[in-house]
């Protein structure tokens, strides 16, 4: 009976029993069915022929590979790996399946003395041929042959593992190599240090598939010697009397650091390992260490790239919800500045055209940063547009937005929002504030600038039964209103001093409507003097410019 065992891919771990003539593909009608879109509907055919099992590519899009060679038709030997797209399937026969190495996930490190510590090495040594001796001597030939074998193995290991960038897969490959290099190895495992410097099992393999009640056991003495001294260890006996095979343990080392350990063990009655084999294991440990370091760096890079993509996505969402242009209304001048912080903060603003020459003006800040903040901000902006049109009154708009946010947002999210409605004809401004910084009003008649603290209510998304009130004021000719987020008032100078409301009020005291925000931003920049910015900076301004031009 022949089988395919999925080593890699969506069906990983699954076995497919092969009937005499079967087709592999992503069509559910296939005997070997793998539902992966990168696999052709009918990808390859497997047949039992008088010469043995064969695999044949059925004109697939991505090809069929046997042991990494692209084939149109190939005879299969036990252990051959068939790769189609991202899937790797190992061809096996029943006979071999009995000895199939099993993966388990249990390792115990026993504290205590290791009785059988017999040999340690710090660096892989090639057996040195004794050149002064007669080259016809058997011992020299042996040495040369061993040297050759060892170099060959190291070369093969380094070739095989250098390009594997997924740590788990890397370790499984390394254990494969250890088992083929050391025919007497019965059990083997790789342990690596996690971010807390704790040793955790990364891959484990048993040659015989016996159930391991207590898992693998290794003594603290061996582990300590390898980890702390960076030495490979050969030990004749295990910490348990019933487990008396020889053990070899080598550091997984790279750039002078020990990243983990490799350990293999013979069966109790098996031929014991010797010093030459310890040398070889040490060499493999060094190769594997470099490969592991590469794989880890690659993983970090991938994570970073994913994070960056998320951020970019969030930024796009956010930008798409901000109005492109400020509105145009007779007798008023609108302006805005938006400087997002790299990390994507939760600032937002909006201008909403309303019936009867009213304009809705919105500024807010969603708690938190990143993708979730951007999504909440996007949701809140569209909610606000809808409520602004259906409700009219700023207090009622915020009330609706609060209920909506309380009902559905993640429990640790809330938002501060300042919502104003400007009646362009009557020049009346009505607003309600949900925990946001108050609007700043500059009166042209007196030249005074003041924060309007009225109608400030609880932030949105905290308490469903929160009530909101609103406040109205009339705008005279030349009057200006500035709205901002805390990124403005909390902008820090090189000496960690916050920009603050006072400076903002001063900066807007005399500026003409058209250049008001430019002057404010310039003043903020002068204050920060190049210090890094930690939050979004958002400013919205509008001025009544009818009658005579503002000065």
């Amino acid at each position: 009976m022949a089988k395919l065992i999925t080593v890699r891919g969506p069906t990983r771990g699954r076995e497919f029993k092969l009937v005499e003539d079967c087709v592999l593909g992503r069509s559910p009608a296939c005997q070997v069915y793998i539902g992966d879109l990168t696999i052709s509907r009918e990808h390859a055919r497997l047949r039992s022929t008088p010469e043995g099992w064969t695999v044949e590519d059925l004109g697939s899009g991505n090809g069929t590979f046997v042991n990494d060679l692209r084939i149109t038709r190939s005879l299969l030997r036990r252990g051959d790996e068939i790769r189609i797209s991202n899937c790797v399937l190992r061809f096996m026969t029943e006979q071999e399946e009995e000895q199939k190495p099993r993966w388990v996930n249990m390792v115990t490190v026993l504290a205590g003395h290791e009785p059988g510590l017999v040999h340690t090495v710090t660096q892989a040594q090639l057996p040195m041929p004794r050149l002064h001796e007669d080259p016809s001597q058997a011992s020299l030939r042996d040495d040369l042959a061993r040297s050759h074998r060892m170099l060959e193995t190291l070369y093969a290991v380094s070739n095989a593992v250098a390009s594997i960038l997924e740590p788990k897969q890397l370790f499984e490959h390394i254990l494969d190599y250890l088992f083929s290099t050391f025919p007497d190895a019965d059990r083997g495992f790789v342990m690596v240090k996690d971010e807390h410097e704790q040793l955790v099992p990364a891959a484990i393999r048993l040659r015989r598939g016996e159930a391991q009640a207590g898992g693998l056991v290794v003594s603290q003495t061996v582990v300590g010697e390898v980890l702390e001294q960076g030495r490979s260890v050969l030990s004749s006996a295990g910490p348990r009397a019933d487990r008396a095979g020889t053990k070899m343990c080598a550091p997984l080392a790279a750039q002078g650091k020990t990243l983990g350990i490799l350990l293999i063990e013979t069966r109790p009655e098996g031929r014991p390992f010797g010093p030459d084999e310890l040398d070889l294991l040490t060499g493999i440990g060094a190769q594997a260490g470099v490969a592991f370091l590469n794989a880890r760096m690659h993983q970090q890079l991938l994570r970073q790239q994913r994070l960056e993509q998320d951020m970019q996505f969030a930024r796009q969402i956010q930008q798409s919800f901000l109005p492109a242009e400020p509105p145009v209304a007779a007798g008023f001048h609108f302006d805005r500045r938006y400087h997002p912080f790299y990390d994507v903060g939760g600032d937002f603003y909006d201008f909403i055209p309303l019936p009867d020459q009213h304009v809705g003006i919105l500024i807010g800040d969603v708690s938190g940063k990143g993708v979730s903040a951007a999504l909440l901000m996007a949701r809140l902006t569209s909610d606000m547009r809808y409520f602004a049109l259906s409700e009219g009154s700023p207090a009622r708009v915020l009330q609706r937005a609060n209920l909506s946010l309380c009902a559905s947002s993640r429990d640790n999210m809330f938002a501060t929002v300042l919502y104003l409605v400007l009646d362009v004809q009557r020049r009346v401004l009505t607003f309600s504030n949900a925990g946001h910084l108050p609007p700043l009003l500059r009166r042209a008649s007196t030249g005074s600038v003041a924060a309007i603290d009225e109608a400030t209510n609880l932030a949105l998304g905290v308490l469903p039964e929160a009530v909101f009130d609103e406040f109205s004021l009339e705008l005279g000719t030349g009057d200006s209103v500035v709205l901002c987020t805390d990124g403005v008032v909390e902008a820090k100078s090189p000496t960690e001093e916050e920009y603050g409301f006072g400076r903002l009020q001063q900066a807007m005291a005399t500026a003409p409507a058209e250049t008001l925000l430019d002057l404010v931003l310039k003043d903020v920049q002068r204050h920060t003097a190049g210090s890094p910015q930690y939050d979004d900076i958002t400013l919205v301004a509008f001025s009544r410019v009818d009658g005579h031009p503002a000065t």
């Binding site: 939760g346 708690s367 938190g368 910084l437």
Partner: protein, 113 residues
């Protein structure tokens, strides 16, 4: 840096926060919040005497616990607000959601029927 301490006094849980509760440290509070809710410890007092800084993520953590215990019929009370956190609570008008107290004893006392 955030240090926090949890103390059960009768059926009231007192959480003492010391240091900064911000985007960096707020996630550290998460498991405790989950545990309180899981064990229906729904009477909670935050002792914020030594809290030096809070940002929106930090407020988010407290708001999160507040919303969840309220769903179970409980409440979160705040004791000993000072410095920057006091200012943030004022700006966000959080006094309209949370009862604020000068001392932990007062806050605890308010839970008694």
């Amino acid at each position: 840096m955030l240090e926090f301490n949890r103390l059960s006094l009768d059926d009231v849980e007192v959480l003492t926060l010391k240091g900064n509760l911000d985007a960096l440290t707020a996630p550290e509070l998460r498991p405790t919040i989950d545990e309180l809710v899981a064990h229906r410890k729904i009477k909670v007092v935050f002792d914020l005497r030594d809290l030096t800084l809070i940002d929106s993520s930090g407020v988010g953590a407290i708001v999160s616990l507040f919303k969840r215990v309220r769903m179970l019929g409980g409440d979160v009370k705040i004791a000993c607000l000072a410095n920057q956190p006091k200012e943030i609570f004022r700006l966000l008008r959080l006094d309209r959601a949370f009862d604020l107290f000068e001392t932990v004893e007062e806050a605890r006392g308010r839970f008694k029927k």
